[in-house]
C-alpha cells in the first residue's frame, strides 16, 4: 500500500496524459466524423468512395498497428514529431473512422419521407440538413458515440507498447521498480474503470430511452 501512495503523484501525471490524449482524439475524431459523415451521404460520389475506402482501411487493421505506422512514418518522411503526437494522431484517425461510420449510419436511418416533406414545404438544402436531419442524427448517434469513446479511452493504453509515456507506461515503470504488481496495476485499472463505467452507464440509459420512443 505504501508503494501505491508513494507512486501516486507519478501515476497521476500519467493519468493526466492519458486523459489529455483521449480528449484530443475524441474531440478531433468527433468533429471530423461529423463533417465526413455528412459528406458520406452527400451527392459527391467520389467523396463517398474516398470515405468508404478510409473507413474500410482504418477499421480493418488494429489500432496498435496504426499507432506504429504513424510513430515510424513521421520521422521517415522527415517530420520530427513527439511520440505523444504520433500516437494521438493514430487515435484521432481511428476515432474519425468510427465516428464517421456512426454518423453516416444515423443519417441514413432517418426516413426519406422527412426530406421529401421538407422539400415540398419549400425548405432549402442547408436548412433541411441542419434543422431537420442533423439534430435527429446527432441524438441517435449518442449511445454509439459514447461506446466508441470508451474504446478510445481504453486504446490510449496501447501507447505503452509503442513507447509514448502515459498511465499504463507509468504503471509498468513503477511495477518494474517496486514489484508491487497487484496494487499498481489494480489501481490503474480502477482509474480506467472510473472513466469508462459512467460513460457506459450513460450509453445504456440513452439506448433504453430512445428504444421507448421508437
Amino acid at each position: 500500500m505504501d508503494v501505491l501512495v508513494q507512486s501516486l503523484p507519478y501515476l497521476a501525471k500519467g493519468a493526466l496524459q492519458t486523459v489529455w490524449m483521449a480528449v484530443v482524439a475524441i474531440f478531433v475524431g468527433s468533429v471530423a466524423g461529423l463533417v465526413l459523415g455528412l459528406a458520406a451521404v452527400s451527392r459527391f460520389t467520389a467523396l463517398r468512395w474516398l470515405i468508404d475506402a478510409y473507413i474500410f482501411l482504418t477499421r480493418g487493421i488494429p489500432i496498435l498497428v496504426l499507432m506504429f505506422i504513424t510513430y515510424y512514418a513521421f520521422p521517415a518522411m522527415g517530420y520530427r514529431v513527439s511520440s505523444y503526437a504520433a500516437v494521438t494522431v493514430a487515435l484521432a484517425l481511428y476515432a474519425t473512422a468510427f465516428y464517421t461510420d456512426i454518423m453516416r449510419g444515423c443519417l441514413q436511418s432517418l426516413p426519406r419521407g422527412q426530406t421529401e416533406a421538407a422539400k415540398s414545404l419549400g425548405m432549402g438544402r442547408m436548412s433541411i440538413i441542419f434543422d431537420i436531419l442533423l439534430p435527429q442524427a446527432m441524438k441517435s448517434s449518442l449511445p454509439p458515440w459514447l461506446n466508441t469513446s470508451i474504446v478510445m479511452v481504453k486504446s490510449t493504453s496501447y501507447s505503452a507498447i509503442v513507447g509514448a509515456w502515459e498511465l499504463t507506461y507509468a504503471a509498468k515503470e513503477v511495477v518494474e521498480r517496486t514489484l508491487a504488481t497487484f496494487e499498481i496495476f489494480g489501481a490503474v485499472m480502477l482509474f480506467y474503470f472510473a472513466i469508462c463505467y459512467p460513460l457506459s452507464l450513460l450509453s445504456t440509459h440513452l439506448e433504453k430511452k430512445t428504444a421507448v420512443v421508437h
Partner: protein, 222 residues
C-alpha cells in the same frame, strides 16, 4: 524505380518471418474465440438462471472486463500470476486475457438473445405441458443460437484485431514481429504497411464469412 526494387526485396525477405508470426496471431485467435464463447455461455446461463448473488457478482465481473483496457488485464496475468507461483507463457496469458474480455461482451449478447425470445414461448411451452428444461434446450436455445451467430462473427473480427495487444507482453505475433524487423534492419515504416495488409486480409476474409453466415441464419429465422 530503384527504391521500389529495394522495398520489394525487403518485403520478400521478411515474408518467412511474417508467416511464422501469422501462425501465432491465428493460433491466439483460434484458441481465444471458442474459449470466449464457452465462457460467455456459462456466464449468461448463470446470470439468467443461477442464484442471485453469483449472478450479481458476474454482472460486476462483466462491467470490470468491459471498462478496463485489455493490455492491463494481460499485464496482470503476465506479471502478477508468477508472484502467486503460477508461471504462464505469454502466449496463453494473451489467449486468456482476450477470452476474458470478449466473453464479457458476448455474455451480454447471449443474455439479450435469450431474453428477447423467451417470455411468450416459455408460457406457450408450459401451457402445452412441456417441461422448462425441455423448452430451454429444444425451443429457446436453438433460436438463440441462430440469433447470436452474426454477433459472434463480428466479435471474432474485433478479436483478431485485439490479438495485436499481445505485443505488449513479448509474444511474437504479427505486430511485434513487424517492430523487431523494423528495428533490426533499419527498415522503414513500410514494414508496418505489410503488417497492416496481413490484418486487413484477415478481417476482410472474416467479414465475408460473417456476411455469408448472416444471410444463411437470417433465412433460417425467416
Amino acid at each position: 524505380m530503384d527504391w521500389l526494387i529495394v522495398k520489394l526485396r525487403l518485403i520478400g525477405s521478411i515474408y518467412p518471418q511474417m508467416l511464422d508470426a501469422l501462425g501465432v496471431t491465428l493460433g491466439i485467435a483460434a484458441l481465444a474465440l471458442p474459449l470466449a464463447v464457452v465462457l460467455a455461455a456459462v456466464i449468461a446461463a448463470v446470470r439468467l438462471f443461477g442464484p442471485k448473488p453469483i449472478a450479481m457478482a458476474l454482472g460486476g465481473w462483466i462491467e470490470l472486463m468491459r471498462n478496463t483496457p485489455l493490455l492491463l488485464q494481460m499485464f496482470l496475468l503476465y506479471f502478477a500470476l508468477p508472484m502467486l507461483g503460477w508461471r504462464l507463457d505469454g502466449f496463453y496469458c494473451g489467449v486468456l486475457a482476450i477470452a476474458f474480455q470478449h466473453s464479457a461482451f458476448l455474455a451480454e449478447t447471449f443474455r439479450g438473445a435469450i431474453e428477447t425470445i423467451s417470455r411468450r414461448q416459455w408460457e406457450a411451452a408450459r401451457a402445452l405441458g412441456i417441461r422448462d428444461s425441455t423448452a430451454l434446450w429444444h425451443l429457446i436455445l436453438p433460436q438463440a443460437a441462430v440469433k447470436v451467430a452474426a454477433p459472434i462473427g463480428n466479435q471474432l473480427i474485433i478479436l483478431v484485431k485485439d490479438t495485436s495487444v499481445v505485443s505488449g507482453i513479448a509474444v511474437l505475433d504479427l505486430t511485434l514481429t513487424g517492430k523487431i524487423i523494423l528495428e533490426r534492419n533499419a527498415a522503414s515504416f513500410e514494414v508496418f504497411i505489410v503488417v497492416a495488409t496481413f490484418y486487413l486480409a484477415l478481417t476482410v476474409l472474416l467479414g465475408l464469412l460473417v456476411r455469408f453466415v448472416e444471410t444463411r441464419t437470417r433465412a433460417m429465422v425467416g
